[in-house]
């Protein structure tokens, strides 16, 4: 190895063609593989750093998207008031499903007393199976994985669910039950 070659090998200067001509003037194989073997590991690690920084950018964009979605969600107009059932339509201890607002997942209206109603999203917060009322026990039951929720609050009691069921705000007026909004209950 000549002295200049060994110096270049030690300092790791950019790969230059041996004949010194520009890359465009080199044969096709050298244009396709412009990195010398000695530089290969260094360049591949550097490219890996670049890829990881790209991943880092994707994560940061995801975080910003979550923040913007939260801000945009707050500005959404409250859902309109909607009549979901007549009081007499649901017996005490009975239940009825409805959709509110339009296009939503099914909601579950439960009559717990003479003038007491509660309503929740019917999808279990574990894996979206429909929950069914177990009114005698004061609970809502998800039969898929044996999850249980409190009928009065929607909070998880047992089983895999860790988050409360979203609650639908209700008003009773002139013998009709109205849905007035959706509360995203905290965990």
């Amino acid at each position: 190895m000549k002295r200049s070659d060994s110096t270049q090998a030690v300092t790791g200067s950019p790969s230059l063609p041996p004949d010194g001509r520009a890359l465009e003037a080199q044969p096709r194989w050298r244009r396709d593989f412009p990195i010398d073997v000695a530089e290969d590991d260094y360049v591949s690690r550097r490219e890996l750093v670049k890829f990881i920084v790209l991943t880092s950018g994707a994560f940061a964009v995801g975080q910003i998207w979550i923040v913007l979605k939260g801000l945009w969600g707050r500005r959404e107009a409250l859902a309109e008031r909607l009549a979901v059932a007549a009081v007499d339509e649901v017996a005490v201890g009975g239940a009825k499903t409805f959709v509110y607002p339009q296009g939503s997942t099914p909601r579950l209206l439960v009559r717990t007393g003479e003038r007491a109603f509660v309503a929740y999203d019917q999808q279990c917060t574990h894996l979206q199976c429909p929950v069914v009322p177990a009114i005698a026990e004061g609970k809502l039951h998800c039969p898929c994985h044996n999850g249980w929720f409190d009928l009065e609050t929607g909070q998880p009691l047992a089983g895999p669910p860790r988050r409360a069921l979203p609650r639908i705000s209700l008003e009773i007026e002139d013998g009709t039950v109205f849905a007035t909004g959706v509360e995203n209950a905290p965990s």
């Binding site: 090998a9 030690v10 300092t11 790791g12 200067s13 950019p14 000695a38 530089e39 590991d41 260094y42 690690r45 550097r46 890996l48 750093v49 670049k50 990881i52 920084v53 991943t55 880092s56 950018g57 994560f59 940061a60 995801g62 975080q63 910003i64 979550i66 923040v67 939260g70 860790r162 988050r163 409360a164 995203n184 209950a185 905290p186 965990s187």
Partner: protein
């Protein structure tokens, strides 16, 4: 440009160290994103903005590391 201040073996050490730092920062960002999504789905949106700022700081540090690596040549 910093020129060839370092021998190839030194540059390999530097780029390996940079790689380790970048991976640690990305894992931290992944943890932040997971925790934020978990919190937001549970109705806790208060942490999303601080987590986004922390993630941006990590991205800035990663970009600085990448720039440093490219300036080694």
């Amino acid at each position: 440009m910093t020129g060839n201040r370092f021998a190839r073996s030194q540059r390999m050490t530097i780029v390996n160290g940079t790689l380790v730092f970048a991976i640690i920062l990305v894992v931290l960002q992944l943890w932040l994103l997971t925790a934020t999504v978990n919190g937001v789905l549970g109705g806790d949106t208060a942490t999303s903005l601080p987590a986004a700022l922390a993630s941006l700081v990590c991205l800035g540090a990663n970009l600085w590391l990448l720039r440093y690596v490219y300036r080694l040549d």
